[in-house]
Each structure stands twice: as structure tokens, then as C-alpha cells.
Subunit: 364 residues, 3 copies
């Protein structure tokens, strides 16, 4: 990252963000950095005991740290002692980001942008080069629409939301306040709706829209389809990583997080505070309750009604071993039947009888 033009004293950061000073003072900071790469004018953080050894070797000028890990820091390092070092560092980092980059403070409409006279723009809006804002769009205060974005007819962007370059928000879709959307993401493409009719596919027009709450962040090159009739909905505080596909009429509850490459099929409903691992899939027309964690690359094939941690992925192994294991997987039902037959034979041998009752399979 870039260094600040003017350094700041550690004590000033404590005055701004709280925490308690410890270790060497004064320390003057010009950059944030990881424990491993930090130098004398850098501030770093230590958030977990497993990074203790990296901390003992750090060359950072100062470290944000919890009280119980303070002893891990080498002598001569300054410290800000707080309860949640990661969240505290996050707040400091946002302040640094705003100082180091000019880009977050831009205002005005670039001369090459195409903004409809029928769009309504709030105060302090930025519209970048070659961006398009269509008729009847409503843009809130302090919105940043970066270069090459496209805002469709009647779309609404809430106050303080930032669209990175080349985001597309298509007709009638709505984003709440303080959202962030990364480059290449498409909000409001048609849902995948076709009726089979005499050997070909008849398109079902997708007449709903997409409605996104406040404080939602969506990564790069995602696709969020508009609903068929009702809207696709993503509730407040959700965080989506890159290359995620959200199909029509999906609903996602508050503060859920989806990692990269997840696909959610049509009309699936995901609860609040769920965490979906990278590359996982969720079939359509099912429900996932609140507080569910799904492992990476697992496929949810039926509704989940109990909070918990769910997985379904074939374990990785050296390929030769996999070849044998995969061949046996195909034979599994036969193998189970053979074990059952052996059990019966064993019982018969023990009792000397051929008439013992068949014991049911465990787990069936």
C-alpha cells in the first residue's frame, strides 16, 4: 500500500480510535503492513496466538494487540492494546485508506459520462468516465458510480454506496445505503426461466427486479438475476465474494456471507448469519435456516432446518488411491449386501439355526 504523505503519531491514533498505549513511545506511522513485511514506520496487528512467532520477529514500529498477547512483541515496539485487534485494525485501516487514496473523495460528473436528464442525482455524487445513468434512475447522496458503470432505467442507488468500475445495475433494480459493488458485477440480468413447449424452450420474461439492502458488499464479476415476477432479495449486511451466481427469486437473510464461486439456484431461501464456503452449490426451491455453515464445494440438495456445519465433498487423495476408492464407491451397495449376508451366516453358524431373524442394517 501507499505511505501517507504525512506521518501520524501512535498516540493520535489512540485519540481517534481508542485503545491503550503500551511499549515504546513515541512511534510515528506512515503505513500499515503485515507482521512479516512491516518496517519501522509501519503499524501492524496481532489477532491470534497462532501468529505469535511472526510477532516475535516483526520489525513493525507498532502493533495493535490484545492484552494477553502483548508479551509476544519484541522490546522497542510500540503497541495499541484493545479487546478485538482485528476489528480495531480494520477501523484504522479504513481511515488510512481514505487518506492514502484520492479516489474515495471524488465528486462530479465526468465529461464523457452519459447521464439522462430524467435521472435524479443526490448531493456530492460522482459519475466516472464513460458511465451511463439512464432515465428515471434515482441516485442518493454521496454515491460513487465509477468509470464504465451502467445504471438502468428506474434503478435506485442508496446514499453512500460505491460502485467500482464497470458495474451494471440494470432496470428497476435497487441497492440500499453504504453498499460496495466490485468491477464487472451484473445486477438484474434475466433469470433462467423457460417453459418446455413442443421440443423447444419458450422464454419466460423476467419481470421482477433485484432488491439489495443496506451495507451489502458484492465482489467482482458476480451475477444477480432479476426475479421472474417477484424480486430477488439480498438483505442488510450480506457479504458476497467474487464470481457468485444468484438465480432469480433467491432470498438471502441478514449478515450472511458467501465465499467465491458459490452458485445459488432459483427460489432458494438462505437464512441470516449463514456462511457458505467457496464453490458450494445450493439447489433451487429449498430453505436453509439461520446460522448454517456449508463447507466449500459442497452441494445442498435439500432444505436444512437445523443450524450447524454441513459438508459433502469427496476427500482428495493421490490419484492411484482415488481410482481404487472410486471403483469401490460404485460397488458400495453390493458390499453392504455382502456384509449383511456375512452377518446372517455368522449368526446361523453361532446358533446352528437357519431361521434367525434378519437384523436391520444400522443407519437405514
Amino acid at each position: 500500500m501507499r505511505r501517507l504523505a504525512n506521518e501520524i503519531d501512535l498516540a493520535e491514533l489512540v485519540a481517534l480510535f481508542g485503545g491503550e498505549l503500551a511499549g515504546r513511545q513515541p512511534v510515528r506511522i506512515r503505513r500499515l503492513a503485515s507482521l512479516a513485511s512491516a518496517q519501522a514506520d509501519d503499524l501492524s496487528f496481532l489477532s491470534a496466538a497462532r501468529h505469535r512467532s511472526a510477532a516475535t520477529r516483526t520489525q513493525a514500529g507498532a502493533v495493535v494487540v490484545s492484552r494477553d498477547l502483548l508479551d509476544a512483541l519484541p522490546p522497542g515496539v510500540g503497541a495499541i492494546v484493545v479487546e478485538n485487534p482485528y476489528a480495531h485494525f480494520a477501523r484504522i485501516a479504513r481511515w488510512f485508506e481514505a487518506r492514502a487514496s484520492q479516489r474515495s473523495n471524488r465528486v462530479g460528473i465526468h465529461p464523457t459520462a452519459t447521464v439522462s436528464s430524467e435521472a435524479k442525482l443526490g448531493a456530492r455524487v460522482f459519475v466516472g468516465a464513460h458511465a451511463v445513468v439512464s432515465a428515471d434512475a434515482i441516485i442518493g447522496d454521496d454515491v460513487m458510480i465509477e468509470a464504465q458503470c451502467f445504471i438502468g432505467d428506474g434503478a435506485q442507488i442508496g446514499a453512500g454506496t460505491r460502485l467500482h468500475p464497470a458495474v451494471r445495475v440494470l432496470d428497476d433494480c435497487t441497492l440500499g445505503e453504504r453498499c460496495i459493488v466490485h468491477s464487472g458485477t451484473v445486477i438484474g440480468s434475466d433469470g433462467f426461466g423457460f417453459a418446455q413447449d413442443q421440443g423447444h424452450w419458450e422464454k419466460i420474461p423476467q419481470l421482477g427486479a433485484v432488491r439489495i439492502g443496506n451495507d451489502v458488499e458484492i465482489g467482482a464479476n458476480c451475477t444477480i438475476d432479476r426475479g421472474a415476477l417477484d424480486d430477488t432479495e439480498i438483505d442488510d449486511g450480506c457479504k458476497l465474494d467474487n464470481l457468485i451466481q444468484i438465480a432469480h427469486n433467491v432470498r438471502i437473510g441478514k449478515h450472511s456471507a458467501l465465499a467465491g464461486c458459490v452458485g445459488v439456484a432459483g427460489s432458494a431461501v438462505i437464512g441470516s448469519r449463514c456462511m457458505i464456503g467457496g464453490g458450494a452449490g445450493i439447489l433451487g426451491h429449498l430453505q436453509i435456516c439461520d446460522d448454517v455453515v456449508v463447507s466449500a464445494m459442497s452441494l445442498v440438495t435439500r432444505s436444512i432446518r437445523k443450524p450447524g456445519f454441513y459438508t459433502g465433498v469427496f476427500p482428495m487423495m493421490p490419484n492411484a488411491g482415488w481410482e481404487r476408492a472410486a471403483a469401490t464407491v460404485r460397488q458400495l451397495p453390493g458390499l453392504r449386501d455382502r456384509v449383511r449376508a456375512l452377518e446372517q451366516a455368522m449368526r446361523n453358524a453361532e446358533t446352528g439355526s437357519n431361521l434367525g431373524p434378519d437384523e436391520p442394517d444400522s443407519g437405514e
Copy 2:
């Protein structure tokens, strides 16, 4: 969706699209909506017995329905009785869409578009803001090239095709008539072709193109690579969802449908009327015959020569159970051998002999 400026009588919709009036008359319609959200001036549809209970509670003014489900509607609801309610509703919905949205009727070249004087444009073409149409491109009648699209040198777009904002059709690629392509999709990126040469990768130029038939729809942020020498081909009537990867020299037959996040590797051939589930993968240089259905997130590793329904995905379970199941999967070949040994021991015990023939494993 938006309401029509002027309402339409149910009887007029029957005059336009067929079907038989039933239930309360007259009903005046201004919008289409789902059974659950419809109000008094909305038209909805009931296409399957499993939605019967939603139908009994609907507040819709009228419903498109098949004769055998007509009794599910509450009294005082109008009805259009048809054989295939879903396909019928689709046709009505397209008519509504054209009325409710201005965007489908636009014509002309936006002043900020860059259209080569060496491109050939048909009648009633629309080219949106900041779009590029390159030299030697041939654009058919009634084509809509929305804002920020890019049409490469020598590309051809058939009559009536619509490219949503920010679609890229690169040099020499061809789309048929009445196609729809959604935002962010790239048609004609280089195939992934490299020859290994003395420890590094030597690029194989990708000199083929992409050829897409008529009535094909392609979702958002897909990538369709150009062929290495011959073309990549997608035949008439195919429907592709979002975030799909089609590698070089793939061929897909007529009316096949691929759900979101599918990846098809190089030179794979997919037959007609296939349906590939979301997130499924298809390895390269293999054939899938007509009328094959592949489940979501399954990997096709060899050719499929028999129509049918194929699956390969690890079942999802609570994570603790998965840990145990996955550990056992690694031991499966050993477990199979142990069952075989038990069977042999049992036979020996029963016959009193150690010399019985080894029985072959079932399924091998």
C-alpha cells in the same frame, strides 16, 4: 414489475392469445404477479398441483390455469383455461414486457457510440452509449446492441438479436437470429491452448471463431472461447445460464440447456436436448449423446453414449458425520478386501476346506 399505463380486459388477452374464459368476469389487468403476491388487478398462473394451496389463497384478479386445476381457484377470481398454463403465461408476459418497458423499442445510434464506417448495419438497429462496432462487422435488421457492448472486426449479429449492456462479441464470431445475450458475457476469447516446450508454455494462437445458431440465449458473465483452428459451435435453441465457461472447439447440439456455473472443457461434444445441472463439469475430448441429463455439480469424466440421468456428487451431511464417512472412503479398497477375506473364511468354515475357489467380487 411495472404496471401497464392502461389496463387490459381479460377477454382481450383471450382474443390475443387464445384460451377459454372462466370464473368472474370482467377482470381488468394491469400487471402480472405470482400467486402469493398478486393483487386485484394482477394476472397470475397455476401450472402444477403442488402450487394448489397457494392458489386457494391468492388475491389475484385472474389466473391462467389448466382445466383440472380450475377448482383450486377461490370464488370471484377470473380464469383463462389452457392446456399449458406456463407456456401460455410466458407468451402473455412477453407482450406485457414490451408494453411496460420502453427499452425494447429503441432504434438509432447513440452519439457516444463508436461505429466503424466499414461496418454494415441493417434496418432499425440500436447501438447504445459507449458501444463499439468495429470494421467489417455485419449487423442484421432489428438488432439491439446496448450500451458499452463491443463488436469486433468481422463479427456478424443476426436479425432480431439483442445484446444487453456490456456484451463482447470478438473478431469474426457469429450469432444467429433472435438470440439474447446478457451483460458481461464474452464471446470469442482465446481458447486455452499451450504446448509444453522446455519447461515453459508456448502459446497456440487461437485462429478459429465462435458460431452460435438462432434463438440461443446466453446468460451474464459467461465466456465462450474461440476455436483453435475450427470453430466453437452452439446450435439453435440452446439456453445457457450465467457464469458458464465453454472452452475452444466445444460443440453443443440443438435445444440443450446448461444451468449456471457449468464448465465444458475443450473439444467436448454435447448432444441435442441435453440438460446440464448447475456447476457441473464436462471434461474435454468426450461425447455426450442426445437427451442426457447431468445433475448439478457432477463431473462427466468419460463419454456418455446412452440417454439418461447421471449423477456424481458426495452427499451432504452434518460435518462430524462427513469426517467419519470421508475417512472410511479412503479405506474403502481395504474394506472391500476384508469383506472378501471374510467371505472366503466363512466358506472355508462351512465346508471345512481351505481349498475352495475364490469367488469374484460382485460388480467388478
Copy 3:
């Protein structure tokens, strides 16, 4: 592909690229084509014995071939005999590509491009229509930035690199020399970093960048996230296919190749000369050593410290068989316990004792 305006003699190609003439002479070439589609003025290649039968039927004017397969060619076909026909053909193909297409030789700034006066541009740079080059960007000699690309503040593009239409290289990211990036790819989107704080997600600003080496090729619609504090790094000679997700702080060694739809989670480290199959996933904070091959759609869940070929994917089967196999997979731990019990019972029966020691499971 397009034919050359002027044909070239086979002997001239040998003079330019080496190899030995054989078969019919002279042959005049205007195009490159596959063995199956080649015609009399086309050059093709034969690189492996499995294509021998296609070679015997080819109508090509000439074929690049190794000495041991020369006899597969029909009489009357010209030949260039070389050691590595595929790599040799690749070099000839690049020469053809440069001749057949005008697009590789363009220079200059399109009048609709937006280039900051504070950007530094090398010699013979091309900037296409509606592209943006921001302040403090440094663009090397012979760089092609095609239409609708976006280059952020302080980004650096090395000499000879080509960005296809609509590539985004965001602030402070760096590409080396002779790279190729395909349409729709985003380099430098924010990593997915959030701290959980009192029931909601606190954004961690992503202050690192992306650093890409020389001779790297990246496919279409990929996303490469910037690092949280340090940079995300892709080393020289790597080849990435389409729709690939690289999370923050990932590091990939030299000459590794990733097929389409791969997802790599945060802080994973991939060695040199690795090959990752399409749709595979790699979890975060793990290491993969050099020379590892991962099969398509397999998930790497822990570090791999030994070169080799690794797989983890459920085998595909007809759906009815899968239903049975999947049900048995859930019962596997129980099945294993039952086999163990049978073995114990068998030992007891053989020894007449109930006190034999429990034999440990093989493979545990």
C-alpha cells in the same frame, strides 16, 4: 480463420522457422486448419499417434509432423518434419495470426479514450475506444490497451503486454512484460476480508495490490483480488484460463497452469509448474509444492508437500445407482464397524475363544 491475402510457399516457412521439407513440393499455403477440415491450400499438424487415422484422410496441402508419423500422411501431401510438431506449429500460427489480423498492429490513442495527462505512456502504445488510463499509470512500450479497458491510478503495464477489450486493472496493480489478459477480467478487486464484530461484518480495507510477472496469460472474466496488506502474486509464465477466482494474498509460482473455473482461497501458496484442473478448489492458508497436478473439480483441503497427481471427486453413474451408492456412503462408518465385528467373531469362532486381541483397522 481468415486466409492470408498472399499465399506462402512451404519452403519459405521452413526458411523462417526450421524443420525439414518432405513429401510433395511445392505447396502454397494460405491458411492453417485442423486435419479434418483442411483443404488444398491449408497447413495442418499431426502431433500424436492417436490422430493417425485423421491424418490418413486429410485433404491438407501440407502437414507439420514428426519423423515417426510421417508415413501416416497420404501421398501427395507436403510435410515439414520437426521434433515437436505442436510447438513448431504454434510458432508458425503466431506468424499467420499477425499477418491475417490487422488488430495486432494498431498504435495510437482512440479519440474517445480517456487518458490522464498524469499517466506515462511508452512508445507505440495503443489505447482503444472508451478506454480509461488513470493518473500515475505507467504504460510500457508496445502495450495494447483495447477498447473499454480501465487502468487505475498508479497501475503499471509492462512492455508488449496486451489487454483485450474491457479488462480492468485497478489502482496500483502491476503486470509484467508480454502478458495477455482477456476480456472482462478484473485485476485488483478487493479481497474478501471482514472481521466479525457484534453480529455484523466489519470490512477490512484491502490495502495491498496485485503483482503479475512476465509472460503471464489470464483468460476472460477472471477475478484476481488485491492483497489485504501485502500483494497477491502470480509469477512468470503462469497461464490462467477463464472464470478463475484468485483470492487475496495468494501466491502462484512460475509456469503453473490453472484451467477454467478454478477457485483459490485467500493466502494459499501454489508452487511452480503445477497444473490445476478445471473447477478445482484450493482452500486458504495452505501450501502446494512444485509439480503438483490436481484433477478437475477436486478440492484441496490441506497442504500438499509431495509432487504428484491428486484427485477427489465422486464418480459419476446413472442416477439410480448413485442414489444407492450415496445412501451407503452415509452408512460407511457403521459398515466399517460391522466388518470389524465380523472379523472379531470369525477369529473367536476359529480359536474357540472370546478373548482374542482386537485387530486394528487397516489404513487407520
